[in-house]
Symmetry: none
Subunit: 242 residues, 4 copies
């Protein structure tokens, strides 16, 4: 326990505002849908830094530049803000990883692509990632069950990618379920410590995790190098489109 990564983002040394700063609300009223965005941003920031239960509706409203009552025009309740945030994150994460996996062919490459995208996504949306992950227990029964189901689905994709790699002989593992937990934990943890202002780029960190993951699944250095090259070729096509 208690190594740096797993702490809340703001307790780690640099605390990068990856999702962007909370805008101090100007005093205009009648601002419409911008208000909703301001609420979302404020909620992500505050939930990430202090936790859901330590964040009051007042604090969110104040960070969003509105009165507490105004939040209730956009969200039914405090929990609804959290649910929206977590749903959005899970949906976008799942889509991004799915797209990355579809871009390559072999099981090892697909796993590597998933790991890479998972890491990049968690580095880019560190606060939302952390909140989605750590505040599952703050949900009431129904939405919690729903989110856990999505999380379990997401995990299962990784496990079956590992299984496919084992089946075609490129990877090895004694227990695929334990390996899946271990791999996702370390990749998810990137959201806890990655600092865009630090010495390592997010791309580099993602590659390092591909190395670690494939290595822990018994892949040879040559296989790892080949997979990384394949991923970067794919990326270049992507990058132009974006």
């Amino acid at each position: 326990m208690a190594e740096k990564p797993t702490a809340a983002p703001d307790t780690a040394a640099p605390a990068p505002p990856v999702d962007g700063p909370v805008p101090e609300g100007d005093s205009d009223t009648r601002r419409g849908p911008e208000t909703r965005e301001a609420i979302d941003l404020a909620a992500i920031e505050l939930f990430a830094n202090r936790g859901y239960h330590a964040t009051s509706m007042r604090a969110i409203a104040s960070a969003a530049g509105i009165q507490p009552a105004a939040i209730y025009h956009w969200y039914e309740s405090k929990e609804a803000i959290l649910i929206g945030l977590q749903d959005d994150f899970m949906e976008e994460l799942t889509e991004a990883v799915e797209a990355a996996v579809d871009r390559v062919e072999t099981p090892a490459a697909k796993l590597a692509a998933a790991v890479r995208e998972h890491v990049v996504f968690h580095g880019l949306h560190a606060r939302a990632a952390f909140v989605t992950d750590s505040e599952i227990r703050a949900l009431t029964d129904d939405p919690r069950r729903t989110l856990i189901a999505k999380r379990d689905d997401y995990q299962e994709r990784f496990r079956s990618l590992i299984e496919a790699g084992v089946d075609d002989g490129t990877l090895k593992t004694s227990e695929d379920r334990v390996a899946t937990y271990a791999i996702l934990l370390q990749c998810t943890g990137v959201a806890l410590w990655f600092d865009p202002r630090g010495p390592l780029s997010l791309d580099r960190v993602a590659d390092l995790h591909v190395e670690l993951v494939l290595g822990s699944l018994g892949a040879s250095p040559e296989l790892i190098a080949g997979v990384l090259a394949e991923l970067h070729d794919g990326e270049q096509g992507e990058r132009k489109a974006a």
Copy 2:
């Protein structure tokens, strides 16, 4: 983010009461230091399941079978309970890992021993581990700084073990700091998903993590097997003593 492991223990399917159940307080009064233990147990359980901020002093008191005011005979404040819990956990964890490391000779074996003990300790004291780790941000400035310093020290031990393995040529890593984060995250995560009633023993899970860690640091299967054998020889001596 958002795969099963990183959720709070109670949101995961099994939720094993690893630290023992909370005793329903009998109606005797004037129970002395047992009261303090009851408070500790109740606090660990509730902080782990609901989080620090979602746990009221009334809830702790009720779980400990006393009145809320009685807690203040044993602790100065709610935060003092948390600090005590976290300090105890960090101290015992550090001692346990240190002792394990001292029992073996080579850098690779020392790292493996540290990983093993870390995993076992997190499996045995899953709730305390989770609370120590996830509620750093609930602390006020001073105790937070103190705990973060301890955590950073602890992390640094792992990093220097990796470095030593790299230096003597048995291990390889592109970035020792990233590797340290990744390794500790996956080992710490055991506290989130391990269920003693599940199919895998804690010893088995610990061995699997040694395999994963050494593998991700480029160790050969032979080295891994040798190191595991060495660890188990050492353990047997220990076990007899205890």
Copy 3:
């Protein structure tokens, strides 16, 4: 010590509701700034009768016909209510006395005017006077220092009026500072025992204090009579305007 006057108003026999009765809150909600006034009235009454520390926010709320939480829309804290009350009282008292002093010419008349106005003001706002005076120690450091400074300023005005009277030969005193304390204590004490339903009018009581004060400063009966006449002439002009 321990003669009737210095006791709290409600311990004295009659307990006149000089500042007006506390209105029993009707059950309308959303009353706006009237709510603030109701809080003020309730607080003055209760602080005066029971003391600041013996008055709970629940008691104030109940006397104001609202819920305790509603108080916090109008005041930051319990102390803020007290500070507001004391500030208001000191400001109005100072202005009133200043105006009275400016209406006459000679030093003896100015002192008499100050004494008269001080007594009248303390008779009219007996509860606020008592609370301002007796609950200085209930304040935290900062506001306490501020209030003490105002009180010291106010005292100094009286001392310098006495000094001026001594300088022009109309008054005599062995120690102007002791005289100032003594005079203000007896005039302030009017707030403790004056009862508007009693046999003496407030105007009569004020005149009596002018007699006592000037007498204790060695003024001749003729001077006292002259000064009182001058004051009453001035008053008549005032009265028509109001």
Copy 4:
């Protein structure tokens, strides 16, 4: 309102520990009747500085060097401490003043003696005086009525001394009741501002109050001087005895 005198002792500039400091209790147990004295001293000091309601039994116990529960061997309740303190003060004050009055003959001298003794007593026992005076309202109905009766008796003695002086032609007053209030208020107030470390001795302050009081009752400077001389003669006999 709010001139210095009427504030609590500790808010006034010097705050003299007239009743002596609170001894830090040594850690011996089983200390017997010394404990009661320690409680009394602690209670006077704390009630005077913070007020009865702002003083907890814990604070008294701590200042007396014992545990809160030990207080209940010596006093039935918190109120009983206050009652004891107030009763003692009133009894000793009344006796002292009575003795002083008996030492002289003429009505004016008797009043002067009473004023003098009242002032001296309030200067010597400032804290007890202040608590007796200001915490009448903290008492429950029965003891409050008892104390108010004593206070009224005490006041009546002064009023009848004034009346006697008026009757024999040495003193004048428009309203003896108002004069009594005013005189006692200013003399009692000495407990609020007198500082034994200040430039004026308590004897001097007492004489000044005799001057003020007799002056406000129309006594000629010659009468005042004569009365003071008479008092001082009497005192010299007293002083030798003490």
